[in-house]
């Protein structure tokens, strides 16, 4: 009953091609945007904005990036964190060496730099597939981490190898408060998410999916494999690069190469898998799940603080987190996005499912 589309006629091609063809979805998204843009900044405290919601958004962006590559194009990558690192360090170096550049421009440059590196490390995908490609992208992961640790130029010869992001000002306004940083991240992430959503519905996105489903067949119907795979790497890395710059600038304000190690790559891969491969919504859900759940468990176990030792709580977090991941994957291997789809289907018939 909630999702009944009876009576909603599509009278134009534009209506048929809309991102959200059902009115209920449009209303839902509008409410969600109002909540995210207005209600949350008004009511959430600094803790939530700064250390919970901002990283969720940044990870969502990185997960969208990986989802484009792995979920839509079917190219398994373990180099996501490295592309984030490229973005973070590119933005930092541009800002330090050319301080006149507004930071938003340096975010774009961060994306472009990451895209360039992504194309370079995407070249092996033309010859190898699947797990072998994952191993090849692992090389990117280790090489880039090594490069940023060992070549002093990238960290501006900082003795500790940790870079500190310069302050962010735009037209005289300084992005210092938690609200401004959250809104900045939200604007960038929302804008890029809409772009991604449109991209995957376009000819390019369909070419990606064709390559994912069967690359020989895709080639046979006239899709240029090289261009398609490399654009997927470029676009994916662009998203990861911007996410890396946001991580360094907006969230932590500092970054060291080890922050983007292989574990971070795995973390983002898990977000994509748990959220749902080949789904933009899934990227958000997966990021929220992976970031929020440990915080939630830590907070919840704090309520029993006196009964349990700190050590037990710390380990309990791992046990519950791991258990829940397994549970979710067993019950719904297609991820949280698929779960949401099931809910929608159920709500369509509710309350008369038979």
């Amino acid at each position: 009953m909630f999702y009944r589309e009876t009576g909603q006629y599509k009278t134009t091609y534009a209506a048929d091609r809309a991102i959200f063809p059902i009115r209920q979805d449009r209303i839902g998204i509008a409410i969600l945007l109002v909540v995210a843009f207005v209600v949350i900044p008004l009511f959430a405290n600094e803790y939530w904005l700064r250390s919970v919601l901002t990283p969720v958004l940044v990870f969502s962006l990185a997960a969208i990036g990986l989802n484009i590559l792995t979920g839509y194009t079917g190219q398994l990558s373990l180099g996501t964190a490295a592309f984030m690192a490229v973005g973070a360090f590119a933005a930092y170096n541009l800002e330090v060496r050319v301080p006149e550049v507004p930071f938003l421009v340096s975010f774009v440059v961060a994306g472009l730099a990451a895209a360039g590196v992504g194309i370079l490390f995407g070249l092996p995908s033309l010859r190898i597939k699947g797990f072998y490609l994952a191993v090849a992208t692992l090389a990117a992961q280790f090489f880039i981490e090594w490069l940023f640790t060992h070549v002093g130029w990238f960290t501006n010869y900082s003795t500790s190898g940790v870079i500190t992001a310069p302050p962010m000002t735009l037209l005289g306004y300084s992005f210092e408060s938690a609200e401004s940083r959250y809104l900045l991240t939200l604007c960038i992430v929302a804008g890029m998410a809409i772009m991604a959503k449109n991209m995957v519905r376009s000819e390019l996105g369909r070419a990606w999916m064709a390559v994912r489903d069967m690359d020989v067949a895709a080639e046979a119907i006239g899709i240029n494999l090289m261009a398609t795979k490399l654009t997927a790497f470029a676009v994916s890395s662009f998203y990861c690069g911007v996410a890396g710059a946001l991580w360094a600038y907006v969230y932590l304000g500092t970054v060291e190469p080890q922050a983007f190690d292989v574990l971070r790559s795995f973390e983002i891969l898990f977000m994509v898998i748990i959220g749902g491969l080949g789904s933009i919504l899934g990227s958000f859900l997966g990021a929220a799940f992976i970031v929020l759940l440990p915080i939630f468990i830590a907070n919840a176990s704090g309520l029993f603080g006196s009964a349990l030792s700190a050590e037990t709580i710390a380990h309990l977090e791992f046990v519950i987190f791991g258990g829940l991941i397994i549970l979710f994957l067993v019950v719904e291997p297609l991820g949280l996005a698929r779960l949401w789809q099931i809910v929608k289907e159920k709500l369509r018939l509710w309350p008369f499912p038979y």
Partner: protein
């Protein structure tokens, strides 16, 4: 099955925000809140667990023996960081407004964690104590008013190692012509002392070569063969975690004697030497505190905490390297708060007041002896410009069963280090657009 999952998920979403706001504290000024960020999980938990046990045990002891600091009971909350900067930021934000006056002072126990919050401190007015680690150039208090790398920073400590080698060789003039191998963890942390070694090599005329060990350092055969080929007179071990024990074993295998190896304090605990077995006997490393339980303060912990059945960890850990470091960290934190209470009165203090306390902390040998810590820690004297506090470095030798004292409290090359610190701090101030405060008032 799906239905159960959906209900569980919905419950999780709805219950999520509840715990974060559920905590509230009474506000009568009778409880001093100290936030604790620990890592009892993750790759460095081996050191993190005894460290945190020591920290918490000391606070428990102060509450049990003295009824708190100057009669103000200490309360604390522990938050798990797993040694991840992002988790630490989450903990920092979660704890910074807890307690009736907010968080008093953070001890992050990790260099990357320190960096992650440095920018936030001035706005939140919360000080950071980084005892023996952290951002070295934060020793310049003019640029970093809220950061205190107390006792000895990495550079000072490393210069003291050269001075220790000189004492073995019979004087600084005998360093000329020595060959020193710097075997270091291949990370930002490991490479941090390279510039200061280069300066010292220039000043004293020794030769230094660097041997990076890839993290985590389980396989070091090739590295130590190269070290052997170099035939160094001394080896500086700047290791971390599992790398240390492997290094000691490999050194013994290629015939580098353990008594020619001088380690950093991250390589200076039972967790590093015991697994290496006989290979570690004679190995020396630098610390900023003494080990063992032969101190009044450690005995008080055993009596008031462990004998009362309130020990945080196993009793055997008391007196070991990491445990004592945790105790020292808590000791310095408590003494800083005590100093601040002398100025602002015996009540719960906020971050800015505790910052004043750390900056004006002066612990002479007599003060330390009165606190039952004679010879456990060196005297500290912090000032507005010098946030390191002029600590000294002690060298301890592994006998196969415990660490014995191998040197006096040695002075680092303070003049050399201070110049580099001011240079580096000035670069940071320029990058961030900070005007250093003047320290004359």
């Amino acid at each position: 099955m799906h239905k159960c999952l959906l209900v569980a998920l919905a419950a999780l979403v709805l219950a999520g925000p509840v715990p974060a706001v559920a905590q509230d504290q009474s506000g009568d000024g009778a409880e001093q809140f100290i936030p604790i960020t620990s890592y009892r999980t993750g790759p460095y938990a081996v050191g993190g667990i005894p460290f945190m046990d020591g920290f918490v045990d000391y606070l428990k002891m102060i509450n049990a023996r003295d009824g708190g600091i100057e009669g103000v009971r200490i309360v604390w909350e522990e938050c798990e960081t797993a040694y991840k900067p992002d988790r630490f930021v989450e903990c920092y934000e979660r704890l910074k407004n807890r307690g009736e006056r907010g968080a008093s002072v953070f001890n992050p126990l990790g260099t990357p964690l320190t960096y992650a919050v440095i920018d936030r401190l001035p706005a939140d007015k919360i000080p950071l104590i980084t005892l023996g680690y952290g951002r070295t150039d934060a020793s310049d208090g003019r640029v970093f008013p809220y950061v205190f790398p107390l006792m000895v920073n990495y550079w000072s400590q490393n210069t003291a190692k050269i001075r220790y080698i000189a004492s073995l060789e019979g004087g600084l003039e005998n360093l000329d012509g020595l060959k020193i191998a710097n075997v270091h963890h291949d990370s930002a942390y490991g490479k941090e002392t390279a510039p200061v070694l280069a300066k010292q090599a220039e000043r004293y005329g020794f030769e230094v070569r660097h041997f990076p060990v890839v993290h985590p350092g389980i396989d070091q055969k090739a590295v130590w063969l190269n070290v052997r080929r170099y035939r160094p007179d001394y080896v500086i071990l700047r290791g971390w975690g599992v790398m240390n024990q492997t290094a000691l074993k490999e050194a013994a295998r290629v015939g580098v004697p353990a008594d020619k190896i001088v380690g950093v304090w991250w390589s200076c605990a039972e967790q590093d030497t015991v697994p290496a077995g006989d290979a570690a006997v004679g190995y020396t490393c630098s610390t900023f505190h003494n080990n063992g339980t032969d101190f009044q303060l450690m005995q008080d912990i055993i009596t008031h905490v462990h004998d009362a059945g309130d020990g945080t960890g196993p009793r055997e850990a008391v007196g070991t390297g990491f445990y004592n470091r945790g105790v020292i960290n808590a000791f310095v934190t408590v003494e800083a708060i005590r100093t601040a209470m002398g100025e602002f009165g015996a009540r719960a203090l906020g971050g800015e007041e505790v910052r004043w306390g750390i900056e004006n902390m002066e612990l002479t040998d007599a003060d330390i002896a009165a606190a039952g810590a004679a010879n456990l820690v060196p005297p500290i004297s912090v000032s507005c410009a010098d946030h390191e506090g002029g600590g000294k470095v002690l060298f301890v030798r592994w006998t196969g069963e415990s660490f014995e004292t191998a040197s006096d409290w040695l002075e680092p090359d303070r003049d050399l280090v201070r110049g580099m610190i001011e240079e580096s701090a000035a670069q940071y101030a320029a990058e961030k657009g900070i005007t250093p405060r003047t320290c004359e008032s």
